[in-house]
Each structure stands twice: as C-alpha cells, then as structure tokens.
C-alpha cells in the first residue's frame, strides 16, 4: 500500500479489480496464494498474514496477471449473469451438464491447492483449563487478569501475533497513559502467573458441546522452517468457563461500485496509519453513519493525508468530534450520502448527494469529490460467531442494527465489543467483571479485586441504522451495489432471489452464494439480511440469521490431520510370522487392520499363476496358511453354553469337551452377522473364532447383550486373538506331515473332523483343531504367539518332503468358494438371512436365539428373496466380475430388470473353469436356468447351480 499498489486481486464472479478492504481476518477480497510448492497455502487474507523475510505471495484468480486479467471480460457480460445464473443457464439438456461442468469448474475457484504431500509437521494438544479467554484485546486481557489473579488456570488466545486487539490500531489512553503500555503491563503480569498460558497467533475457530473449544495456533514461519517446531498446532481445550472477548467487525455502507480498489473500512484506514505507519491513500473521503469514522478523519488529517470531506448520512452532527474534524479543515457534509464511486483500478472520484429531510431519498443537490480512497463505516457487528456456535441465542439491537448475544446455553460469557459494548472504558469494566465471575463459577472466589483501570468514555451520538445508501427519489438505483464482496453478490441479486421465491434466508444464501465465501460474509451478512428483510417487508429479526458454523476462519487440513498421516494414519497389525511372509515375497492385502499374505508369487508368476499353483497344492499335497488373524474370543463361565445357545442359530448344550462346531450368528433382525467355529475346551470353557475383520465388532456386540439384556448370565469374555499364532495345514498330505511332529493320534477315528486336542507340536505347547475352510483334511495348530515363527518354520522344513506350499487369502477364497462356503461380509451384506443362504440345517427350531423371531416375519419368508446360488458361465474361461448385476432376460438395451448380483467369482484351477456365487431372487427355484450378466463390453451367460462345486459329499473332508 505504501508504494501505491492498489489492485491485489480479482473478484470471484466478474473479475473486477479489487484492493485491500480491511485490516484483519474479515478481509473479503485481498486474497493471496502464499508460498510455493508443497507448502503453498491458497486464499490467505493478505490482511492477516504476518510478514517475514523471504515471504512469497501471489494474487489469485487472475490470468495472466492481476492488472491485465482476461477473465475481466466477465464484467461486461454481467447484465446476463444474474443470481442463479448457472442454475438457470446450464440446466438443459441435463446430460450436457457433464460438459458445462468442466468449463465452469475451471473458471471458478480462487487459489491453487498444492499437489504434493505437505512436508511440514502439525501437532495437536489436549488441555483443560478453568477459564478460557478468547480474544486478547482490552476486554479479554482484563478478564484474564481478573481470572488469573484468583488462581484459576487460564488460557488466553488471540488470533494476532500481538495482543491488544483493537488497541493495536488506536491511539487511546488507559489510566492517563498509552493504552498499549497498559497492554504490556497486563501481559507482564499474566506471564508471571504460573497457571496462565498466553497463546498469540491462535484462533478459536470452533465452539462445540460441553465447552469444548478448538484453537488453531500458527507458529511463526521462521520457527517452523528450522524443522524444530510444528507449523501449526491444533489445541483441543475443555474449559470449565469460557470468556468470549472476540471483538467486533466494522461493516461498510453500500453504494454503487463500492468494490472499487480504494474503498476501505474506516477503522482499517486508521489502523494502517496508527499501527503500520502506512497512509491508505493520498486523498481520502470519509463516509459514515456513526461517530467512530470521525476519529479516522482526524487520524488521517493529523498525519498529513488530505481529507476533502467527511460525508455523514445523519442530519445532526456529533458536537466535540465534529469540531475537531472541522479544525483540521475537513468539510463535514451532514445529511449527505456517497452514492457512487468512479474509477477502474483505483477510485478517482465519488458522487455525493444531499438527502431529503427524512433522510430517505438521495434527492438533493449533487457534487463530485476527487479522491483515491473512501474510508467507509456503517457501524460495527459484534463477532458473535463463537457465541452462536455454542448454541447461544442472538437478539437484534435495532438502535445499532446488529446482532448481540442474548441467552447463553453453555458455560460462557461475552465481554466487550462482542457483547455490543463499543467503548474502551466499558470494555475494561466488562472484562474485569466477567473474568472474575467466570473464575468464581469455576471455583476460584478468592481473587483480590483491585481498582480497575479507567479510560475516557466519550459521549456518543446514536448512529443511523442504515446499511446501504438511500436511492434517488424515483427509487431506481444504478450501478452495482455489492453486499458480499467475496462472492460478488449485489443488492439486486438478493432482491431478485426474493422475487423468484427464495424467501427463507437459508435459501437466499444458497441461491445467491451470499456469505458463502472464505470470509463467510463477516462484513456483508447483516446487510444481506437487511436487504432481504426490506424486500419481504419484515423486520430483520423475523428474517433471522443463517447458521454460524465452525470454522470461524479457514483451518488447514494439515492441522486437522496432525501426525495421523502416512504410516500413523491407522495401526497395522502383523502376525508373528509376518517377517517370513515378507521374505517369501508375499503380496499383502489389508483385512481390517491386519496385513495378510494374499499370494506368494514365484519369479515370473502372475497373480493368477500363483493362486492356481497354491490351490492345486492344497488339494493334491499340502498347503499352509497363516490363520493367526482369525478372531479368537475366550468364553468362560457356568452359563457359557446357554450364552452360545442365545447368540448362535444352532444348539450348543450337547457339544462335548474336545469337539468344535460351526456356528452362524444373526443380529436380532434375522440377518447373518458373523460365523466361525467354536470349540469346547472344558466344562465351562469355550473358544470362539470369528472372521478376521469382525473380531472387535463381535466381541463388543456379545458384551452388549451380556451387559444390557442378560446381566444374570455368568459368562466372561476375553479377546485372545493376539495371544495365539495359528498355522493351518490343509490337504491330503497334511496328516502325514503333522504326524511327524506330534505324538497325538491324528487318525480319522481317533481325531475326527471337528475335534480339538491339547497337544505338543514340534516341542511346543499347542492346540490342534481339526477344522477346514478348504474342504480338505485340515489341522489348525495354535501355539502361544511368541512361538508362532518357530512353529511355522518347523512346519515348512518338515513339509518340504511333502511339497508343502504356503498359500494366501486369495487361494483360501478360491478353495472355500469351490466348496460353496460363505464369507460373511462378502457373500452376505446385512440383508441376508441363514435361510437365504440355504443354511436351514444350522437353524434350530427348538430354542430361541437372536434373530429367530425375525426369520418368521412376512418379509423374511418372501419367496422372491435373494438366495445364494452358484453360477457356471457358459464359457468356462470367462470369470465374472464380482458385483456384476444379473438379469433373467437379455434385452437389446437397458433398463433390464435386475434379479441379483455376483458376490464371489474366481477361476478354479482344480475344476479347470470359472466359478461364481451369487445372490439371486428366488434363486433356488431357478436352478438349471440360464441368466445373464450385462457388462460394459459384453454380456455373459451362465447357468444357475447349487453352490458347492467340488466334492459336494464331503468325502475328502472326513478322510
């Protein structure tokens, strides 16, 4: 600004040149792209970015540059781009939207998101405090002093690098000395208190339930660049009491072309002079409806800026202030209004008109005043965002045309200008009072109450609650009157939206995009409400506000993610044999959080080759699978059998010790939930296995039933998944292999299918379960987890003689599909009953269990429910994609009625053809019929068969 740069950006819709409008986070238009490469941050308000050496910033939303922007052609088209332009223009024909969208998306948006991973680190902090003070201006510091002196634990957060709030841009006095000297003394005192923490550069952006407040701390760039500090820190604060001292945001008066570079908030103009020693322009017209802008005129004149006129829409003049202004030779035009600003890349002149006696029409004499800057003030809006987020109810203050806090819902208090107190002495008074009260409510009542400091409280003349300038006497306005500078929303747009039926403020907002920019309408929303209210003929409170939602100002994704990125995003679980799998070149897949070998490719093998080889080995020699990930729940207690009766669909009372049984669980709506084998290890001791991904879900579900519905059952559950490592050997040679490593009799008579034995295997204490998911003779050997690797390597060595082949989850899936065994969650989806699966054999008719009653609901007995069937494609080499939709009749083109979908589909090397499982409406009655799967490039025909393609009698299983 000091070197005369006036255009810093281009507007969102019309690409009009825009300058700096404010001096803080409310900035709607001066947005910049900060930094470059992976650390670049788009759309930062230039007015809130702290300067540092080497800082790189660029304008956004313009090409080739901010002064010559091709997109600016849009402003000549603007008469054809009313509110809802995109909705209206690109609706028909609907299918063309895909084409339009690409161009519209390219033209929209402001800055550029980084494309590479962010190399910076981000931290999170969780803290508790007695009193959280949000805002470090006069009210906030006073509240912090009062609370801190009581001994309470206090956190003071302020969004700026320096404390002081509005005082930073003023030349006010406290107790007869400079106000900033009082701020410095207050900070010294606070820094000396053990229980007080000061957080500059920290924005409280979200106020959530039960006094949970989220703060974003931005670290100085230099500190972050040494790599020793996180760039940003997300503070999650739980406060007993909150003091909101969030200040107020000045708002403009709206006139024609009020977006021209050089139009600026009056207090911003004052702040640039007082705080940064920068003159906002050479010739400044001040335009106001209140006293405060008179101070801007005085400050500007005192530093030698030419102020040709102060235009005040009020007919009366504030006594002392007016005299001071006049003393500087500034012409004061009371009862006049600025109605238009001229100029392209900078204001060069304004038109001012005298108002009629009622102040309702700009009908009097007219003048033009040369200037390069307009400092405009339409009064102040308390920053009630956090108060409103906390659930508090707002009240509209008619005299000052602003919303103020009314009814609190959470343990918070507002102090200072955010509560509608717009003078320094009042802010100090409120701060001390509210800070002490908050501390007292947090249990700290012993604080001394020294005399509070005083500031001058000048007499204030009432503002005129007017937000946009009166129209000429014929009522017709000319030129664009911008309400929302960020999104280019004008008064006419809002009136049009209302005219087209968008009466509700929430609809008007979405139709016009009012207040939907990065600034969230901090300087324009109340104007928008007022325009809508006038168009509707309602008072503003009847129109209401849109919802204030977090965040108050934008928050980076990096801060929200913190360190939970990359490897730390989610824990990964590895079995004790993981390292062996890695060395064997396994390709892993994620099953829940587990890393499981999917297949073990040998050199030159494709995935298909490897899976075929593994599948053949498991049926013709012996395969070995790491089954450690299966969920294992230890169940003990005298009522364990009764408990299993209630949660499984089949009966458990007669299962003898030393035997296992397969069980199916349903939720109480009758839908299959999980399945697995449960073994009886002792009289009152069972071990339940669950699917790998479902272990946690099943355990917590069982606990819920035990605790909430069946508290009298004496049953105790414990997750033992990670206590055991399990290797499953499967195939015709599995018995011979294992026999060489244990003395336990493994013969079919002594150790039949579904038996369980305590044993010693390879000198290790073990449990052997004769259970099978492949349809071959299988032994699952579990040893304490720390012996897992020893067991595995011993089995691999001993297995060389038998052609042992490790197989992964993919081969396991193929082998079980050959047998028609289901995988819950793949062949079921929460809408499938045991009957749908054709598993009536496992559903007891003699006892109650979870889901039983629901199986008798009319819906559960519909004959056209989807049922599990097998599919054999007519072309045996064609493998259906899983998820493919099935139709009963092939029509020339869609739509075709769908009767089901493929749930599992593989190529089976053992059968020499493809196989699939599918859920098909009334599928069991369609066995033998041909159905079709219409795919993108072809339609596959297949015959419905019973699920179970290999050894359906189970001879191999019991061998």
């Amino acid at each position: 600004m000091a070197i005369g740069v006036s255009v810093v950006g281009r507007s969102f819709k019309y690409h009009r040149p825009r300058g700096v409008f404010s001096a803080g986070v409310e900035e709607p238009i001066a947005l910049i792209q900060l930094g470059s490469g992976p650390q670049t941050q788009p759309n930062m308000p230039a007015t809130a970015v702290e300067l540092s050496d080497g800082l790189v910033a660029n304008s956004v939303h313009c090409w080739p540059n901010v002064n010559r922007d091709i997109g600016a052609l849009a402003q000549w088209l603007s008469p054809f781009m009313p509110a809802g332009f995109y909705y209206k223009t690109f609706m028909w024909p609907a299918r063309r939207w895909m084409v339009y969208e690409r161009y519209i998306r390219n033209a929209a948006g402001l800055g550029t998101a980084p494309t590479e991973a962010d190399p910076d680190i981000y931290d999170k902090m969780h803290v508790h405090c007695d009193v959280l003070v949000i805002g470090g201006g006069p009210a906030g510091l006073a509240a912090a002093l009062a609370a801190g002196r009581s001994g309470a634990r206090v956190i003071v957060a302020d969004q700026q690098p320096e404390f002081g709030g509005q005082l930073l841009g003023e030349r006010l006095e406290i107790d007869g000395g400079p106000a900033m000297a009082w701020v410095a003394a207050a900070l010294d005192e606070l820094a000396g208190m053990d229980e007080v923490g000061l957080l500059p550069r920290t924005t409280a952006f979200g106020y959530y339930d039960h006094n949970f407040v989220a703060l974003l701390e931005r670290r100085p760039i230099a500190a972050a660049e040494t790599g020793r500090l996180a760039r940003e820190c997300l503070w999650k604060v739980r406060a007993k009491q909150v003091v909101l001292a969030t200040g107020a945001i000045e708002r403009p008066l709206i006139f024609a072309n009020n977006d021209r570079p050089g139009v600026m908030l009056a207090n911003a103009a004052r702040t640039y002079v007082n705080r940064y020693a920068v003159a906002p322009g050479n010739t400044v017209v001040v335009f106001t409806n209140n006293d405060d802008a008179y101070r801007t005129a005085i400050v500007l004149a005192e530093v030698g800026v030419k102020v040709p006129a102060l235009v005040d829409v009020r007919a009366f003049a504030p006594g002392a202030l007016r005299e001071q202004v006049s003393a500087h030779g500034i012409e004061v035009l009371n009862g006049w209004s600025v109605i238009n600003a001229h100029g392209g890349r900078r204001v060069r002149m304004v038109d001012v008109v005298a108002l009629d006696e009622a102040g309702a029409a700009a009908s009097g004499s007219r003048r033009s005043i040369d200037c390069d800057t307009v400092a405009v003030s339409g009064g102040w809006n308390p920053a009630v965002h956090l108060f409103s987020q906390s659930g508090g109810k707002l009240r509209f203050d008619n005299a000052r045309a602003c919303f103020v806090p009314d009814v609190s819902v959470q343990s918070e208090r507002s102090a200072g200008s955010c509560a509608g107190i717009f003078n320094l002495d009042g802010c100090l008074e409120a701060g001390f009072e509210v800070g002490a009260a908050a501390a007292a409510d947090a249990g700290f009542t012993h604080g001394a109450r020294p005399k509070r400091p005083r500031a001058e409280a000048p007499e204030e003349q009432p503002m005129r609650p007017l937000l946009w300038v009166p129209p000429p006497s014929n009522g017709k306005r000319f030129g664009k009157h911008f309400v929302d500078l960020h999104n280019d929303v004008t008064i006419a747009d809002i009136e049009l939206a209302r005219h087209e039926g968008y009466e509700s403020v929430e609809l008007t907002k979405r139709y016009t995009t009012l207040g939907m920019g990065l600034d969230q309408g901090k300087t324009g929303n109340v104007h928008g409400l007022a325009v809508l209210a006038e168009a509707r003929g309602n008072p503003i409170p009847a129109v209401g506000t849109t919802t204030f939602r977090p965040p108050y100002t934008p928050v980076s994704f990096g801060a929200l993610a913190g360190r939970d990125v990359g490897d730390l995003y989610d824990p990964s679980r590895r079995t004790p044999m993981h390292r062996w799998h890695e060395q064997a070149g396994a390709v892993f897949e994620d099953v829940g959080q587990w890393k499981r070998p999917r297949y073990y490719p040998r050199s030159g093998e494709t995935m298909g080759d490897a899976v075929d080889r593994e599948c053949l080995a498991a049926r013709h020699a012996v395969g070995i699978l790491d089954a450690s990930t299966l969920g294992k729940i230890d169940i003990q207690g005298p009522d364990a059998a009764e408990f299993l009766n209630r949660v499984y669909t089949n009966a458990w009372d007669r299962l003898p010790v030393g035997r296992c049984r397969y069980g199916l669980m349903c939720t109480d709506d009758g839908m299959v939930f999980d399945d697995g084998v449960t073994a009886r290890l002792g009289d009152a001791h069972y071990l339940m296995s669950t699917t790998s991904g479902g272990a946690g879900r099943v355990l917590s579900w069982l606990e819920e039933w035990l605790q909430t519905e069946w508290p009298t059952l004496k049953v105790y559950l414990n997750s033992v998944t990670e206590s055991w490592a399990t290797a499953s050997v499967s195939g015709p040679l599995a018995r011979a292999l294992l026999a060489g490593l244990t003395k336990t009799d493994l013969s079919a008579d002594a150790f039949p299918h579904l038996g369980v034995r305590e044993a010693v295997v390879a000198h290790l204490p073990a449990r052997i379960f004769r259970v099978s998911f492949t349809g071959e003779v299988s032994f699952e050997i579990s040893v304490p987890a720390r012996y897992g690797m020893a067991l595995w390597t011993t089995l691999m060595e001993a297995g060389q003689a038998y052609g042992i082949t490790p197989f992964g989850t993919e081969a396991m899936h193929v082998l079980r599909a050959e047998k028609g065994y289901i995988i819950t969650g793949q062949d079921t989806d929460g809408s499938v009953t045991p009957i749908d699966l054709g598993m009536d054999w496992i559903v007891s008719k003699k006892k109650d269990f979870l889901g039983r009653r629901s199986l008798n609901r009319v819906d559960a007995m519909r004959p056209d429910r989807k049922q599990l069937v097998g599919l054999l494609t007519d072309d045996p080499s064609d493998v259906l994609p899983e998820g493919a939709q099935i139709v009963g009749e092939k029509l020339p083109q869609p739509p075709m009625p769908m009767i089901g979908h493929v749930t599992s589909s593989y190529y089976s090397a053992n059968l020499g053809r493809s196989i699939a499982l599918a859920l098909i409406k009334g599928g069991r009655d369609r066995i033998g019929k041909t159905v079709f799967a219409p795919l993108v490039d072809r339609t596959v025909s297949a015959v419905i068969v019973k699920p179970g393609f290999y050894d359906p009698e189970g001879a191999r299983l019991h061998a």
Partner: protein
Amino acid sequence: MLLIPCPWCGLRDEVEFKYGGEAHNNRPLVPDVHDDTAWAAYLFMKKNPKGLHLERWVHAAGCRRWFNVARDTVSNRIDGSYKIGEKPPAIAAETEESA
C-alpha cells in the same frame, strides 16, 4: 464433543465412548407372542425425541461397561447417567412423564 459421565470412571471425553441407541427398548422375553407389527416396533421403531432422550452408551476405550445416559437432544445437556438395571434419575423420569 460431549463430556460423558461414566458411572464407573467419571467424566470422560466422548471419543472414549460408543453410542448404543435408545435405552429401555428391551428385547421381549417371549418373542413369539408378538405379531410382526409389534416385533418390528421393537426392532426398528426407535424414539427420536426433541428433548430428553434415555440412551445407551459404552465406555469402549475405558472400562468397557454399558450404561444409560439422560441427554437433551436439542442442547446436548446431560442430566445424568445410571447403570444398566437402575432407574433413570428423577429429573429425567419427570420430564419423560410430562412429555
């Protein structure tokens, strides 16, 4: 984020808990005496009140115990918590009756 009073562990952050839906919607002891409509009401027709709601929570990342909470669904104010099998706190019971 709520601050939830676990009857065993005291006030803890919501992240430690899992929500379990409406409380006191107990499974009928003899399901077969209920016709399809009544059974569907138990399964699917959950209360969704504006105001006081008695609901199950489990301290999943803590003591793993289930318990009930009386929460106002508008303000999220929590009037108390009680163990499974206990009666709701008096204030909750009153509002419940008048509702």
